[in-house]
C-alpha cells in the first residue's frame, strides 16, 4: 500500500488555458480522498493526471516513492472506474474483468481466482458470461468496479462513478463503495460534484475551485470551519444563507437590518455573513424577520424558504433565506417568522477575497 503525493502540479493546455494552477497534496496510504467542486473546476482533470490520461505540465505526482509523471497509464499501478462505466462492449463480464490481467501475462489460474473472488464480493458471479448490454446500470457499475478490483492496484480512481445511476441505487452503491474501500484498505481518489456523496464517502475532502484546492480536511471540519466563502457555500445542504453586510463598529448592517454581537471587523470592506439553515431558530426576540415563500416537507424535517425583510442584495432584490425546522413547524405562506441565531455559530467573510474573518 502506498500514498499519493502531488507537488505543485499544474496543467496548462496548448491554447494557454490553465486547468490546474498548482496543487499540493499528500494522500496517505489507505485514505479515501474526495475531490469536490463545481463543474469545470478541474477536479476530473486532476484525477486524470493521476491516472495518466492527461499529461502533467509541471510539478510531480508520485505513488509511494515512485514519481509517475512519465509512466504510461497501464504501468502506474492504478485502476479507474469511469462515469459511464467504459466496459468493453464486445467482451463478456469475465472478459472485461480479466482483460487487464491477461495483458500483464498473469497466470491463468490466478486470473480465474481473482475474477471469481471479485465477482463473489460484488455479487455479480452469476453474470460472468453475460455481455455488458445484457446488464442493468447498477450491474454494469459493479462490473466496472470488479475490473478495477481484480487489478489489485495501489490506488483506486473514481470519476463520478455514480452519476449515471438512479437516486436509490446511488445511495446503495455509495454505501457499498465505502464498505469495499474500508475492507480493501486501498488508497482512493473519488471525484464528484455531489456534496452529499463527498461528505459521506471522504476521509478527507478537497474542495477544488478554479484549478486550486480551496481547502482540504475531514468533511465535518470543512463544514464547521470553512476557510473561505466558496467552501462554506459549497459544503452543506441546504446551502448556507449568505447575507451581504457592512460593519459599522457595533453591528453588521444591511438596510434596516442590524445584527449586533460582532467585533474586530474591518469597517471599510464589503462583508458576507454566513448562517447555516440549521443554526437559525424561530424565537420572539430574534434578530430578523422572514416572509415565508415556500415550505418543503422532507418528512423528518421541513425546509422553510423565504425573503429576509429589510435587507437587499446588490441588485436591490430580496435576500433569499432558508431555515431548517422540525416537521411540526408549518408556517403560513406569506406569514412572518422571527428568526435568531447565536453570533458564535455564524461566519463572516470578506466579499472581495472570500477569506473568512470570523
Amino acid at each position: 500500500m502506498s500514498g499519493v503525493q502531488l507537488k505543485s502540479v499544474r496543467k496548462t493546455y496548448p491554447n494557454g488555458a490553465e486547468a490546474i494552477r498548482g496543487v499540493d497534496m499528500d494522500i496517505k496510504s489507505g485514505e479515501m480522498i474526495v475531490f469536490v467542486g463545481p463543474s469545470g473546476c478541474g477536479k476530473s482533470t486532476l484525477l486524470r493526471m493521476v491516472a495518466g490520461l492527461e499529461s502533467i505540465s509541471s510539478g510531480d505526482i508520485s505513488i509511494g516513492d515512485r514519481v509517475i509523471n512519465d509512466v504510461s497509464p497501464s504501468e502506474r499501478d492504478v485502476a479507474m472506474v469511469f462515469q459511464n462505466y467504459a466496459l468493453y462492449p464486445h467482451m463478456s463480464v469475465r472478459g472485461n474483468m480479466s482483460y487487464g490481467l491477461k495483458n500483464r501475462k498473469m497466470d491463468k489460474a490466478e486470473i480465474d481466482k481473482r475474477v471469481n473472488d471479485a465477482a463473489t464480493m460484488l455479487k455479480i458471479d452469476q453474470f460472468l458470461d453475460r455481455q455488458p448490454n445484457q446488464l442493468s446500470g447498477g450491474q454494469r457499475q459493479r462490473v466496472a468496479m470488479g475490473r478495477a478490483i481484480v487489478r489489485d492496484p495501489q490506488v483506486f480512481l473514481f470519476d463520478e462513478p455514480l452519476s449515471n445511476l438512479d437516486a436509490k441505487l446511488r445511495v446503495q452503491m455509495r454505501i457499498e463503495i465505502k464498505r469495499l474501500q474500508r475492507r480493501m484498505n486501498v488508497t482512493s481518489i473519488y471525484v464528484t460534484h455531489d456534496q452529499t456523496e463527498a461528505m459521506t464517502l471522504a476521509d478527507r475532502l478537497a474542495v477544488i475551485n478554479d484549478g486550486r484546492v480551496e481547502q482540504m480536511g475531514a468533511p465535518m471540519d470543512l463544514y464547521n470551519d470553512p476557510k473561505t466563502l466558496f467552501v462554506a457555500s459549497f459544503i452543506g445542504a441546504p446551502q448556507i444563507n449568505l447575507i451581504p453586510v457592512r460593519f459599522d463598529g457595533i453591528a453588521l448592517s444591511n438596510g434596516n437590518l442590524s445584527l449586533p454581537g460582532f467585533k474586530d471587523l474591518p469597517k471599510d470592506a464589503d462583508l458576507v455573513l454566513g448562517v447555516r439553515p440549521d443554526v437559525l431558530v424561530e424565537t420572539p426576540d430574534g434578530q430578523f424577520e422572514m416572509r415565508v415563500d415556500l415550505v418543503e416537507q422532507h418528512g423528518g424535517e421541513n425546509l422553510v424558504y423565504g425573503a429576509l425583510t429589510g435587507a437587499t442584495n446588490e441588485e436591490g432584490e430580496d435576500l433569499e433565506l432558508c431555515l431548517k425546522a422540525s416537521k411540526e413547524t408549518l408556517p403560513e405562506l406569506d406569514g412572518k417568522l422571527t428568526l435568531g441565531f447565536d453570533p458564535a455559530t455564524a461566519f463572516v467573510f470578506r466579499k472581495d477575497t472570500g477569506e473568512r474573518l470570523i
Partner: protein, 292 residues
Amino acid sequence: MKRVQFEHSPIPYLFVAPQIIIIVIFFLWPAAQAVYQSFLLEDAFGLSSQFVWFRNYSDTIFSSAWLQAFGFTIIFSTLVTFLSLGIALLLAVKANEVIQGASTYKTLLMWAYAIAPPVAGLMGNLMFNPLIGDLYGFMNAVGFDFDHKLDPYDAGFVVILISVWKQVSVNFIFFLSGLQGIPKSVNEAAMMDCNSSTRRFWTITFPLLAPTTFFLMVINITYAFFETFGIIDTTTQGAPGGATTTLVFKVFQDGFRGADIGGSSAQSVVLMLLVLVLTVIQFRFIEKKVHY
C-alpha cells in the same frame, strides 16, 4: 378469436408505388429479360432467334475465356477489397490521432470519393501512358521492365492500383466515423489495462469496428465486381489477351462488342447467381462473428 379489421386505404400503396415501379422497370424486367435471352441463340444480325435450352450456359462455363475472367475476377476482387480496406483503415486510425489540422487532412483524404470510376480510369490511363505517363516512366526508372500493354501482371497491377485508390476514400470515411463512434472512455479504460498500442488496436478497436468492416466488405466486393467496369473500360479494356477481363466486362464485351446476346445473358445470369451465393455466405457466416 376475433380479428380486428381495419379500414383499408389505398394511400399507403400509392406511397410505395414509385419505388416499386422503379424496381420493376429497371431491375426485375431486365433481369427477367436476361434469363429469357440466355436460353436463346440469335443470329449475328438479330433477325431470328432459336430456343437452345442450356447451350449458352454450357458454352459459357466451359470456355477457357470465361474461366480466365472468373479467375481474374476472384483475384482482383479479393485484392481490391483487402487492399482498399487495409489502407483505408490505416489512414483512418492515423487521421483519428491527428489533432492539428485534422479537418484539412480528412478533407484531402476524402476527395477521391467524388471521382467517378471512368474518370479515375482516364486519369490512370494518362499516368500510365507509355509516352507521357509519369507513373509509367517512374516504374521503368526504378528498374521494373514495366509494360501494361504486354505484361498481364503489369496490367493487373494498373487496374488494381486505380480501383484501390478510388475506393480508399469511401472506406476511409466510414472507418473514421466508426472510430469516432468508439467511446473515448473505452479507449482510456483500454489504455489503463493494456500497455501495447498494437495489442489495444487488435483487441479493442478492431473488434468494435467489426460492424463497419463487415458493411464495407460487402460494399467493396460489390464495387470490385461491378463498378470497376468503368476503370477497366477506360484503361486496359481487358487486355492483354483477356488478362484483366472481369466477369462484368466480359458480359459487356460479348454482348455489345461480340453481339452474342444469348451468351452474354447466360453469363450475367451466372454472375447474378454468384453474387447471390456470395451475399448468402457473407450474411450467414461472417455476420455471426460481428458484434453490433
